[in-house]
Amino acid sequence: MSAAEQALATGDAVPLSLKGPAPKRVVAGYGFWLFLLSDIVIFAALFAAYAVLSGETAGGPTAADLFDKRHVLIETACLLASSVTCGFGSLAVQSGDRTSTYFWMMITFILGVTFLSLEVSEFGHMLMIGAGPSRSAFLSAFFTLVGTHGLHVTLGLCWLIVMLLQVTTLGFQPMVGRRFFCFGLFWHALDIVWIGVFTIVYLGAHL
């Protein structure tokens, strides 16, 4: 009996190299975690651009003229609450509870749509008063950074609808569980990026 076979026979002393690949759920989750980190690097580049260009208003409106703090607080509250309801939804998916999955994920969806509509109305107002992305370097950087975050939220909402449909048609199969799990990670990561956005863009504007 070789050392490896002996180790396998005794059970608990099996070295990591002899255990074979990790379960699919761990591999999928880790891969998605790496994707999220690279996504955050994209946001870091946009944050850097914003930090460099935020003062270059070309005689146009400045950050302090444009941003309303109360509006941003409501947006933040929506996104934070949706992060928590998404967590509850993930727990419901793990326990295979169809009713509470639909319930929590629909609340997550509604909060996400509320956030997005607040952001779109803000963008619309800025375009109306002539503070569009072509006005100054500051506004180009602002629309790119906040717009990219909004685009991520939009894609997340589409993903959520697809996942709810998959629960209806496929049920709680392992692959549906893995996808839902990745969606939860994505949604929480967007909330982390938003912390940077409201601190640097909106609160930083009034300093």
Partner: protein, 124 residues
């Protein structure tokens, strides 16, 4: 099954405890609400020495990101999370390089650039 997963590392967001999961989200929510309100308060108050406010906002934001990582994404320093932590550390390193590197370089260029009126004079 759970011991098998533990032995091979876990993905981020996997919480192996069966109890207290819901509580983890609620505790995280509590911390996050307090930190968010503190940021908004700090940016509009006169109580704090003004030059210190950006630093305070930075600290509050980083603290809240940590809260989200621990209570929502369930990242911890457990031995089975080594891979996740290493990836996170590399991500934070790249983000820091990008943001602070860009800011230092651009401030330096800006500082060394000739004022526009002098530049126009020289071209005559």
């Amino acid at each position: 099954m759970s011991t098998e997963i533990e032995a091979q590392g876990v993905a981020p967001g996997v919480n192996l405890q069966t109890h207290g999961k819901r509580r983890s989200y609620l505790v995280g929510l509590g911390y996050a609400v307090v930190l968010t309100l503190a940021s908004f308060w700090a940016s509009s108050t006169d109580v704090i020495y003004p030059p210190g406010v950006p630093i305070l906002l930075g600290v509050l934001a980083i603290a809240q990101m940590g809260i989200h990582l621990v209570f929502f994404l369930h990242i911890s320093s457990a031995p089975d999370q080594t891979n996740n932590i290493l990836a996170l550390a590399f991500g934070v390193f790249v983000v820091g390089l990008l943001v602070f590197g860009s800011m230092i370089i651009m401030a330096h260029l800006n500082h060394n650039m000739m004022p526009m009126d002098k530049l126009i004079q020289m071209q005559r």
